[in-house]
Symmetry: C4
Subunit: 218 residues, 4 copies
């Protein structure tokens, strides 16, 4: 169509763009799916030769199960955010794929950070710092992905740039909450509570609120 293109015709390039985007999304999905499933790999077996003792041990390990659930929600939220963002993305270039890979790195190390948080061998403030630091880095990297997509118009022409404002605000808010929680962890285990205050974990439960966005009405 455009004769001045020296090497590869525009249609081929465009078809290539579509496939490249699908692969990036697919690869991200696979990495996230593996990370979220590996979380459950080291859940502690509740031990006890009577039912009462086994339940007691179950409650004793409650912190481990809770940490698993928190990380499950953290990674699930990462997937939801990615799912929302790439809904309108039409093509990707090396730069956005590179930032996306750094973001996947923060996902891949989250099961490790969970193990550190759960283990009895690591001082709490350090384990908390590692976990919250990785999550803050994850949110900031995600903001970088959104900004790159918006700046380089990687979406369909009809998608207005302000579509992404909500995602940027939300990710920035989360990054700030994770960063603020770090110094608190040196004082008290209640640093966790800050995450909850953020409504972070409320997202999964409160999904219904914005379901009108992509919902019933065609």
């Amino acid at each position: 169509m455009r004769a001045e293109t020296p090497a590869i015709p525009a249609e081929i390039e465009e078809e290539g763009n579509k496939i490249a985007t699908e692969r990036l999304v697919f690869f991200s999905d696979a990495v996230i799916a593996i990370a979220i499933t590996l979380l459950a790999l080291e859940l502690p077996i509740p031990k006890g030769d009577t039912t009462a003792r086994a339940w007691y041990d179950f409650h004793h390990n409650f912190g481990d199960y809770l940490a698993f659930l928190i990380s499950f929600v953290v990674i699930a939220n990462a997937w939801f955010a990615h799912h929302w963002l790439y809904r309108y993305v039409e093509r990707v270039h090396r730069r956005v794929a590179g930032i996306n890979m750094v973001w996947l790195l923060t996902i891949v190390v989250t099961p490790f950070a969970t193990r550190v948080l759960v283990g009895d061998d690591t001082a709490f403030p350090m384990a908390f710092t590692l976990y919250a630091g990785i999550q803050a880095a994850s949110q900031l990297t995600f903001v970088a992905i959104i900004l790159t997509i918006r700046r380089d118009h990687l979406t369909a022409a009809e998608v207005p740039p302000r579509t992404f404002n909500r995602g940027i605000t939300r990710s920035l808010a989360m990054a700030i909450v994770f960063l603020i929680s770090i110094p608190l962890a040196y004082r008290s285990h209640w640093a966790f509570a800050l995450w909850a205050l953020n409504g972070y974990f409320g997202r999964l439960i409160g999904l219904g609120l914005d379901r009108r966005k992509s919902g019933p009405k065609t």
Copy 2:
């Protein structure tokens, strides 16, 4: 096409719906595939320096192999149910994606519940309760997915709501059987038998019965 849409044109939104549904299905498939493959990760090696002793140890571990097979069938059935359901789904919203994620959580912890059931360290009634409780929760969550899809018309317009009746009935029946089996486990190991009576595991073998549904006749 519809001028009153403020932000994103309807076609883009529709294309986005299609991609979003595919990704949800894909992500679910990946999680299920990983969970079902991880099941085999801790199968006990049959030990013995003579063939006879090794086979003896193999039979000795029979309970472990059986538990693996049961969990394989349980997760395979979950996949079949998901496969059947999403066949007609055309779009997803945050709420259904959220419930789907909770459902995936029950899949992700099934290998863990299998390890508890198999281990010698946990009192049988407690291990059984954990396993059956997770499966009942899985079935009830699945019913919630079906009801949400039906209520919010997330299928093609031509798919009549009663299409889903069979799925709802089946999942509810399974949930009930799993829940009833729990108190029985405090009496006897034969609580397992109840699952079999349900014809639950007969589904995989008896697949041919309803093959006419999607079969040869175009």
Copy 3:
């Protein structure tokens, strides 16, 4: 289009067929990919404080590395066969999906069978029987998939039934070789050699021979 269809119009059913087939193929790919990657999870670390000793230990573990490679080729061949077969499949029904799931079960337990074969704790004939038995079952299940697809015309109308003859012959031949090798294992470790004689492992290397099938010529 066809008024006599009571519930779901034919076009929706057909679109559903296409998606259902894609999901089955996709799910199979994911399971095979995980199984083949998990193989490498327990490769023994060559130990030694000098380079010479570490290389010596590497050679000492040669059997383990070889078993890994054999299983890699076995699972890779399973994927190639699946890849070839589903190339022309247009729809799947519950029965073929069920048999496919049993086939996936044989893939999922192959890393386990490899660990048994490699371990020093299991008498060789028993370990060999387990491995070869699983592979024979895998090949026979695969034949059952091909026969079901052919009988129920799950391919495009234009694909002649004899297309599948080569696949049936090959899988049957492999099943027979695996079954024959079992009694030999009670005599000698050279039972392995029978697999090689079959040209089984020659397939990967000799791929070029039949590349004209789907090759350069459009």
Copy 4:
């Protein structure tokens, strides 16, 4: 369309080609995603009952974390290269699928090679040789994939053969650097530095340089 085709009509064959290519790409993506996520499975937990001691242990394990990051970048780069190459591939035959499978083998063993490199039990030159040898083999196999695709015209007709020159040059350069670094490792740990000099790890950071290739301008 072409009456002389004896068995399968050309359109079916072409549709089959498209699906076969997608599956190969998909399967590769899944294997790479699993390998990259498994890397993090054995990251050492930083231990210490005070924050200071835990951070000290974290720094003490720095080599392990660095090796994880190096392998993450190595596998990520493998994915980027694969992503770039298959962008224009339209069909695959058995031979290219076979070479692709050998290439995947080098990916699958990379987490293992990382564990060897990180472990204290293996003499450094041997561990380094194993790692660098696998990476050199990976790059050379990748060159073989590119050459096969170019020779057998597996791309769309409009893609000029010289499109692939850059990829061949880059992979060959990497293979050479990895091979040269091996004898150096018998002298000094600074053999690692050679990899960095190559700008190998600079690729991920310096992505922006060639983003104009598939970037903003439609």
